[in-house]
Symmetry: C2
Subunit: 410 residues, 2 copies
C-alpha cells in the first residue's frame, strides 16, 4: 500500500489543474494505491483537510474537464512554513498528518514560494529521519523560475496576452485619424518582464503589433516615455503600448507609487501593485491632451482557460506525470523541469533538478541581450523563445454557450 498527496499553491494559472491531472494519472499508473489532495495547500493539510481524488477522477470525463478548468481545483494558499529552527511544531504537525493517513510522498505544484516549501519539508525529513519524500512541480504564469526552460502556465498566459492585444489593436485603430487614442495595456509581472514581452507575439503579417513594450528589467523614465510617445504619435494616430505592472523609475519607485503613497503588502512581503497603466494614461492626457485608455488584464490573463495553449497544457500535464514518477521512486527535494533540446522543431525533455535549494526564491529575469532598449521592444531571440509556447488550441467542452469546468463538492 503506497499513498501520495498532492497540493497546489500560489497564484493559479490556466493549466495548473492539467498538472494535477498529470500527477493523478501518473501516480495511479506507477502504482500508488491512494492519491489524496490537500485542500488549500499546506494550510489545509495542517488542518487535516484532505480529499481522496478517486472520488472525482476515476471518471475519465472528469479528468478531461479538470484539464480545462482554470484556477486551482484543490484550492490554493500563500503560506510560509518559516524556518525549521523557529517553527518545529508546524513541521511536526505536517508529518503527524502525513503519518496518520499513511502518506509516503508529497507533490507540491507551485512557483518560487512553493519550491521553498518543498525544500524545507525535504530538509526537515532528512534531518529528522522521516520516511516521506517531497517533489516540486513547477507552475507560474510569471516564468521566473530558474533552471527550467520555461514554466507551465506561462505559455497559456502568453497566448491570452497575444490574442487579446491583437483584438485591442484592431479595436483601438477603428477611429483612425478621427480620434487618436493611446491605449496602455498593463500586464502582470512584478520583477520579471516575461509576460509583458509576450505582447510582441501579437505582431505578424496581418497585425502591426504593439507600438512599445516597457519591461521591469529596464529602468523607466517618465519624461522619456512622454517624448517617445509623442514621437510615435507623429507616425500614426492610434497607439497600443504594453507595460509591465512592475516598471520602476531609476530611483526604484513603482510607477503606481507616484500616485498612491500607501501600497498594501501581501503575506510574502510583496507589494500589491495596481494602477500603473492608469497612472501613465493620466500623465499622457495631461501632457499631450490626447484620448487615452488604460486596460488592465488583471487575473483574466492567468484564468483564461478558454484560450489555453495546447503546448502549455500538454507540458503542464507531462510535468505532473513526471513528478508522480519521481515521487514513486522515492526521490526527494527535487523539481521537475523542462529542457528545450531543440527550438526548430521545438522539442522538450522532462528532467529532474537535483537540488531544489538552487531554485527556491530565485527570480529569473529576461536576459538583457534579448531586450531592444533603444526601441522599447524585444529582440527576435526572445520572440523565437516565446513563439513555440503558444502553439495549438485546446478543444473546449461547451454547454449552453459557456465552457464547462469541474469543482470540488461542497
Amino acid at each position: 500500500m503506497k499513498s501520495l498527496i498532492v497540493g497546489q499553491s500560489g497564484g493559479p494559472t490556466s493549466v495548473i489543474n492539467a498538472s494535477l491531472a498529470g500527477v493523478y494519472y501518473g501516480a495511479k499508473k506507477k502504482g500508488f494505491d491512494k492519491v489524496y489532495g490537500m485542500v488549500n495547500g499546506i494550510e489545509g493539510l495542517l488542518q487535516d483537510h484532505i480529499i481522496d481524488l478517486d472520488e472525482y477522477f476515476l471518471d475519465k470525463d472528469n479528468l478531461e474537464l479538470l484539464k480545462r478548468t482554470p484556477s486551482s481545483f484543490l484550492g490554493s494558499c500563500r503560506f510560509k512554513l518559516g524556518s525549521i529552527k523557529d517553527h518545529e511544531e508546524t513541521y511536526e504537525k505536517v508529518f503527524e498528518i502525513l503519518d496518520k493517513h499513511s502518506i509516503d510522498s508529497l507533490i507540491y505544484i507551485g512557483g518560487n514560494d512553493s519550491m521553498d516549501t518543498v525544500e524545507s519539508l525535504s530538509d526537515y525529513a532528512e534531518l529528522k529521519k522521516k520516511r516521506q519524500n517531497f517533489i516540486g512541480v513547477p507552475k507560474t504564469i510569471d516564468n521566473d523560475l530558474p533552471i527550467t526552460d520555461h514554466c507551465p502556465g506561462f505559455g497559456s498566459a502568453c497566448k491570452y496576452i497575444a490574442t487579446t492585444l491583437r483584438e485591442v489593436i484592431q479595436d483601438n485603430n477603428c477611429y483612425g485619424t478621427t480620434k487618436p487614442t493611446v491605449a496602455i495595456v498593463e500586464i502582470m509581472g512584478r520583477h520579471a518582464g516575461w509576460l509583458t514581452s509576450a505582447a510582441a507575439l501579437a505582431k505578424d503579417e496581418t497585425c502591426e503589433g504593439v507600438d512599445a513594450i516597457y519591461l521591469p528589467e529596464i529602468p523607466f523614465n517618465l519624461d522619456t516615455f512622454v517624448e517617445e510617445t509623442t514621437e510615435l504619435l507623429k507616425k500614426k494616430p492610434s497607439l497600443v503600448i504594453a507595460v509591465s505592472e512592475g516598471i520602476k523609475t531609476e530611483d526604484d519607485k513603482f510607477i503606481c507609487e507616484l500616485n498612491a503613497s500607501n501600497l498594501a503588502v501581501d503575506s510574502f512581503g510583496h507589494k500589491e501593485l495596481a494602477g500603473c497603466a492608469e497612472t501613465l494614461c493620466k500623465i499622457l492626457k495631461e501632457k499631450l491632451g490626447i484620448k487615452t485608455r488604460a486596460i488592465t488584464l488583471s487575473t483574466l490573463q492567468r484564468a483564461a482557460a478558454h484560450l489555453a495553449s495546447k503546448t502549455d497544457l500538454d507540458e503542464a500535464y507531462n510535468c505532473g506525470v513526471k513528478g508522480a514518477e519521481l515521487a514513486f521512486d522515492g526521490q526527494s527535494g527535487k523539481m521537475v523541469y523542462m529542457d528545450r533540446v531543440s527550438n526548430d522543431p521545438y522539442k522538450i525533455e522532462y528532467k529532474i533538478f537535483d537540488d531544489i535549494h538552487k531554485i527556491a526564491n530565485i527570480e529569473k529575469k529576461i536576459p538583457l541581450e534579448w531586450i531592444d532598449v533603444d526601441n522599447n521592444y524585444v529582440k527576435d531571440e526572445l520572440v523565437n523563445y516565446l513563439r513555440p509556447l503558444i502553439q495549438g488550441e485546446v478543444k473546449q467542452i461547451y454547454k449552453n454557450g459557456v465552457p464547462q469546468h469541474i469543482n470540488m463538492k461542497k
Copy 2:
C-alpha cells in the same frame, strides 16, 4: 449599373464586420455592380475616402476572415451631421460625393447615433428630391436599440462576459477561507444594464455564478451596498460582484463621480466613465478591511472575436444581407430588425422597420419586471431572453498560435 456604399460607425463590436460581410455578399448577389466602403464612416465619406470592396472580398477566404475580425474593418467615427437647417453644406457635400461615384444606395451599420445619421440623410434626400436611398443595419454591444428584439454584437459580448466571469469566479475562489476576496467586475453600459445582466449567464450546475448584479436601471445606494456585501461575506469567503459602469446614486451621480470631480465628455456629450469598480473596491477595503480586486472588462468585451457567439455572428451577417436587399429595392429611412418569433426553439425573423425616426436616439432599458431588486440579481425571464444569444462557437482561423484577422491595405 447600380452601386452601393456601406459604412460602419460608433463603437465597434466582435461581429460588426460580419454585418459588413453580409452587406457585401447580399449586395453582389442582389445585383449591385459596385460595392464601395467608406473609410471611417460619414467623416471619411466627406473627404471622399472610399474603397472598392471587390479588391478584398472577391476572395472568399478573405470574406471568412472578415467575419472573424473584431472592430470595424472600414474604420469608424463618431460624427453628428447636425440639423439640416444649420448644416446644409455638409449634407450637400455628402450627396455630391455619392453622385460623383454614381452611388445609388447607402447602408450604415451602427447604433442609436448612426440611425440618427440614416434618418437625417433619408429626410434630406426626400426634401431635396435626391435619388439615393439610405438603410440602417443595427449594431451595438449595449443592446439599447428599440424595436429590434436584440442587437447584433450584443450576444458575443454576453458570451465573453459569461465565460470570463466563470473563469474569474474559479480564480477568485482559489484561496477559500484562507484569504477572503471580493472581486468587483465592471461591465460596459452607460444607461442600460443589458450587458451587465449577462453576468447571470455564468451560473449553471458547474458554477455558482456571481453573487450580486448591480444595474443602472436601479438607483445605487452605497451604504446598502456595504451592508449587502457584509451579509454575503457571512455566507461565503469569496465574492464576485458584477457592476455596470453606469450605476448611479439616487441623486443621479455616477459612482465614479464620487471620486473624480472632472469627467471628460465625448463628442455626443456622453460622460466618459471609468473607475466604478475601483471606487467600490476602495470603499469596501476601507469599511470592511478585506482584500478586494477591481476588474474592468474595458474594450475586451466588445473586441473578443475569438469568443464570438455563432448565433450572434450569423445574425449580424443576416442583418447585413437583409440590409442589402432593402437597399436594392430602393427603400429608404428604414432599419433592419430582428423579431424573436419563438424562444424555444429559438427562432428569429429578419424584418424591416419602416420609420427610423422611432429608433434614433431612443435607449431601450431592461424592463423593471425582469430585475430581482431585492436580491440584486435578474429574474429567470431575463436569463431566458439572454441564453439563446450566446449559443454556438465560431471556428477560429489560427496561425502561429494566434487568431487571424484581415486589415485594410495601408
